[in-house]
Structures are given as structure tokens and as C-alpha cells.
Assembly symmetry: C2
Homo-oligomer: 183 residues x 2
DNA sequence: TTATCCATGTAAGAAGTTACATGATTGA
DNA sequence: TCAATCATGTAACTTCTTACATGGATAA
């Protein structure tokens, strides 16, 4: 699964230009997939060459022509094929969790700041997902709900357990623990 | 934050060879960070060139010499500096959630299969985190607990809401909904 | 006997990001 | 006046993965 498939997916929900695809990805998919213009535009060119999308150019005054893409029959088939592949593991890259792993190397105040921000961010994301809930299909509600469930659980966990990494006293205990376990 | 920082982090917990670093990353970090030999070995070479790690070569019979790396003072400082940077957003790439977004293009049975596997996978990961809980520091327990909280919330959500994407009747309703909202 | 563990490393390639080039319009 | 929105595209770069090269020891 790559940007190309994602473009096909967005186009299955309605015709769009590269620019619009980027915006829709930001709105709907940004929680679990990213893509920049630098990957979307080349992806669309290639999809067109392969006959998976078609393109109609709308002339615009004072700005580049808008190229509105639509799925071809082949494109829709390819999309369905791709989606039918059993999804692989999620890939997560979390600088926050890495930092938390090494909490004993940081100031308690710094950790507290990180956790505060993280909780705030989760609340923001939860709210965002909730606000969008009205105007979306059942499938999209399902995915948004999944996101909300995860963000809420994460925020609750952080509130309840932050003392584990914020207490200097505990941290020094860890240091002494580590002498025994480190290799 | 990149593989280099991660190597410094692992080394802060004890000296290790490239091979061992990979194993420890798999054990401890695989839930939120991946790294292959192809990225770890070059990273270590570069860290050594930059004086952030030192290396002692242990001769081994019948296999390549083992190169055991350790943090230098500079390396530890750099690690702390890196960890003090406010962590950016998590990056998540989930083929599963993408597939769920386009649930109406798939068979209900296929979706059910995907969700079954996903729940099973979450349970496996939860169990794995739980089993490892004993032999780890407070910081690591905190992070493992975070993972568990998230996996459990996700699995529970899937069980409770899977009907949203598994009912063919609802899916056709979505199709008619979409006529109004597409584009 | 077949796979997995141990152990390092390189080279080729995939996939994507960032920055640039271009530039009018619109809202704060 | 300053940033954001609209609009496309390319080139250089980063980062990481995969596959290869090498090969004994050990457990199933």
C-alpha cells in the first residue's frame, strides 16, 4: 500500500485534482497516513500513464490549469484488489514513546511538559474527529470512532500513570535497578 | 529522531553490538519504532566516526568479530539533547484503517476476516507486553502500559462496533448517502 | 536436513520529504 | 502587510529496506 493506492481511494469518493486529494488526505487520513505534494503529483502522473485514472484539464485564469482526475474501470479494479490484500502491521513511529523510554535521562519537569502537551494534543484530535462525525459515511464513522477510542484511552492512561515517570525518587530507584539488569 | 538516536538510547542501557541492538529494538521498541541491520550498521559506523560511541572488537572464531559499542560522554550528551527536543507527532501508517475507510468496496466476509485478525493481533501484542512487564524499569513499564491500554481499547472498540462495516445492508445505505456528498 | 541463531557489512533501490520555481487572490 | 489558499510540478536529498555476500553452530 502506497501513495498511489491512497490516491485511487480518494478518487473513489469523488473526482479531484492533486491539490484537492492532498486536502482530503489531510482531513480524513492524516491520523494514519501522510502524503506530500511531492509524492502525490508524481503518483498521479504515473497512474494516468498506466490507465488507472483519467484527467480532464480545466483552464484557469492566473493560475496553473486544474487537472481533475477520475478513476477508470481499471483503476477501480486495481483499488479493490489492493484493498483486498490482508493489511500488514501498523507502522508507528513515536518520538514521544522513545523519549518516555529514557525518562530517567530527563528532568521530571521536562517529562511533565511532554505529557501535558501529549494529552492536550490527544484531546484536540479527539475533538476534531468528533466534530467531523456528522458529514461522513458509516465506514468513515467507524474509523473515526476507532481513532477516538485510541486517543481517549491513551490520554486516560497518561493521566493515571504519569507519576511513574515524573517522580524523581522513583527515577533514582530505576538507576539502581539498571545496574543489575544492564547487560 | 532517527536510527542513530535510537542506537544511542539502546547503548545507554548497556553496551552492545549492532546485532544485539537490533534484537533489543525488536524486543522493546518494535511497537513504535523499526530498524533493520541495513540502517543500524551504517548508523554505528557514523556514530563512531563522530565520537559518540566507542567500539571494542572481540575476536570470535568462525564468525565475524563482534564489535561491542559503548557510549562516550559526548554520545550521552547528544542523546540527552535529542531526547529533550519536544517530540513531534506520532507517525502512523495503517493499511488496516485505510482498508476500513473503503469498507464499502469490500465483501463483508473479507472485512470480518480482517477485523478478526486485527483483534487477535492486538491480543497477542497485549499478552507480549504483559509477559515482559516483570523485567523492566519503571519507564519501560510506563511505555508498555501505554501500549497495552491502546491495544485493549482498540480491540474493545472493534468488537463493539464491527457491525458498522460488516453489514451489507448498511453498506448500500452508505452508497446512496455518498451520491449526495461526493465531490 | 532444514531452519534459525549468531555476526558484519555493502550496494541497489524504493519511497518519500523538502525546497524551489511561479504567482494571483483573499482574508486577518 | 503578512500569511494562507489555490495550483502544478521538478530536483535534490534523506532515510530506510531488501537482497546479497559469507558461513559455522545448533536445535527441531
Amino acid at each position: 500500500m502506497d501513495v498511489r493506492t491512497l490516491c485511487l481511494g480518494v478518487l473513489s469518493l469523488g473526482n479531484a485534482s492533486g491539490y484537492e486529494i492532498k486536502k482530503r488526505l489531510e482531513d480524513t487520513f492524516s491520523h494514519f497516513y501522510d502524503a506530500s505534494f511531492g509524492s502525490i503529483y508524481p503518483a498521479l502522473s504515473r497512474l494516468q500513464k498506466e490507465g488507472l485514472v483519467e484527467c480532464e484539464t480545466e483552464a484557469q485564469s492566473k493560475r496553473p490549469d486544474k487537472k481533475v482526475y477520475s478513476l477508470t474501470v481499471d483503476g477501480r479494479l486495481t483499488l479493490v484488489e489492493e484493498l483486498n490484500i490482508m493489511p500488514g502491521r501498523d507502522r508507528v513511529r513515536s518520538e514521544f514513546l522513545v523519549a518516555m523510554c529514557f525518562a530517567d535521562l530527563l528532568d521530571a519537569s521536562q517529562i511533565a511538559e511532554m505529557i501535558d502537551r501529549r494529552i492536550a494534543e490527544h484531546q484536540r484530535l479527539t475533538a476534531e474527529l468528533t466534530s467531523r462525525e456528522g458529514r461522513s459515511s458509516a465506514a468513515q464513522k467507524f474509523v473515526a470512532g476507532y481513532g477516538r477510542a485510541v486517543y481517549e484511552a491513551a490520554a486516560a492512561y497518561l493521566e493515571e500513570n504519569r507519576y511513574l515517570v515524573e517522580s524523581e525518587a522513583l527515577m533514582s530507584q530505576i538507576d539502581s535497578d539498571r545496574v543489575g539488569t544492564a547487560d
